[in-house]
């Protein structure tokens, strides 16, 4: 009872702060300074039609590196925490009822399409909404579909690790190349900017976003794989 009362008191205090914040909130009618800079310059300098992509990949590229690192750490920690337990043995696994012929066929049909759509999303990150993070999640969803169709399905750890580390390495290499050839770390102007609005434009942004997409997809897939390998207690 006391506990609930304390919780309510805390939430009331928070609500007071929020109401105060909302009273002080004045909707902006003009872009602020940094946003103005991004809006005016990103299309000319970098050739990226999607300004959010330009910010994520180039202007705040270091932040993105940090995010990818956090995600990598999360995946690694999940793997380490789960690796401690007893791994499932094939022979000990429960007898599962067959997973329905129609779902199997449908997953055979839809998995290539989901993979293709994921690739579309991260290759076109500089033109359409979308990019590496979304595309990576969609790739992992394809893996999830396979996992749901056949619960005993396992993905090759080696393939996942190779894709993940290769894309990570290439990502950093492109970043360093930007430092050598252009203005700074992860500067995308190491490749020609190209015609605005085409696929081969915006310097190295599509390349970097594709690498991020592959890396994120591999990380999510390894998370799913590690979770699926645990044995039902």
């Amino acid at each position: 009872m006391i506990r609930n009362f304390a919780v309510l008191l805390l939430l009331l205090g928070l609500a007071g702060i929020f109401i105060h914040l909302m009273q002080g909130y004045i909707p902006a009618t003009e872009l602020n300074q940094s946003a103005h800079y991004y809006a005016a310059h990103s299309a000319e300098d970098l050739g990226a039609a999607n300004i959010v992509t330009a910010i994520i990949v180039t202007y705040r590229g270091l932040d993105t590196l940090g995010e990818v690192t956090v995600l990598f750490l999360a995946a690694t920690i999940i793997g380490m925490v789960l690796a401690n337990g007893h791994k499932a043995q094939r022979s000990l696994q429960r007898q599962l009822p067959p997973s329905g012929e129609l779902l199997t066929t449908a997953s055979r049909l839809l998995t290539p399409l989901i993979l293709l759509f994921g690739a579309y999303v991260f290759v076109n990150g500089h033109l359409t909404p979308g990019g590496g993070f979304q595309g990576g999640a969609i790739l992992a969803s394809a893996a999830l579909l396979l996992l749901l169709t056949d619960p005993l399905k396992r993905f090759s750890h080696r393939l996942i690790a190779v894709v993940e580390s290769l894309s990570g390495l290439l990502f950093i290499a492109i970043g360093v190349l930007g430092m050598v050839l252009a203005g700074g770390f992860l500067d995308s102007r190491i490749l020609p900017t190209g015609a605005f609005g085409t696929l081969f434009s915006a310097g190295s942004i599509p390349l970097i976003y594709s690498l991020i997409g592959l890396k994120v997809g591999a990380e999510f897939t390894s998370m799913l794989n590690n979770l699926a390998e645990t044995e039902k207690s």
């Binding site: 599962l96 999303v121 979308g130 969609i138 749901l148 619960p151």
Partner: protein
């Protein structure tokens, strides 16, 4: 004229949305809630298309594409859970 028609369509879709939401809240069994969830996802696609039309931006459709392609994954995951397979 077209505006009125679109407004009418949005209103009717909103009514359908509320009905499906009602089934979600009422639903006696878990299966009923899952069906309502499925229907609500499809109605969300309609809302996205409507928003794209109203704001006149074709790029919004990509989000609808994601839902059209991936929404059944959630339902299948829940069905697997209900079957006791995990």
């Amino acid at each position: 004229m077209v505006e009125i028609l679109i407004m009418l369509a949005a209103g009717i879709t909103g009514a359908a949305f509320l009905l499906a939401l009602g089934r979600f809240v009422l639903g006696p069994s878990r299966f009923d809630r899952v069906v309502a969830f499925d229907v609500l996802t499809v109605i969300a696609i309609t809302f996205i298309v409507l928003a794209a039309l109203l704001e006149n931006r074709g790029i919004y459709l990509d989000a609808a594409l994601v839902y059209a392609l991936l929404s059944f994954l959630g339902v299948i995951a829940i069905a697997r859970y209900l079957e006791g397979r995990f």
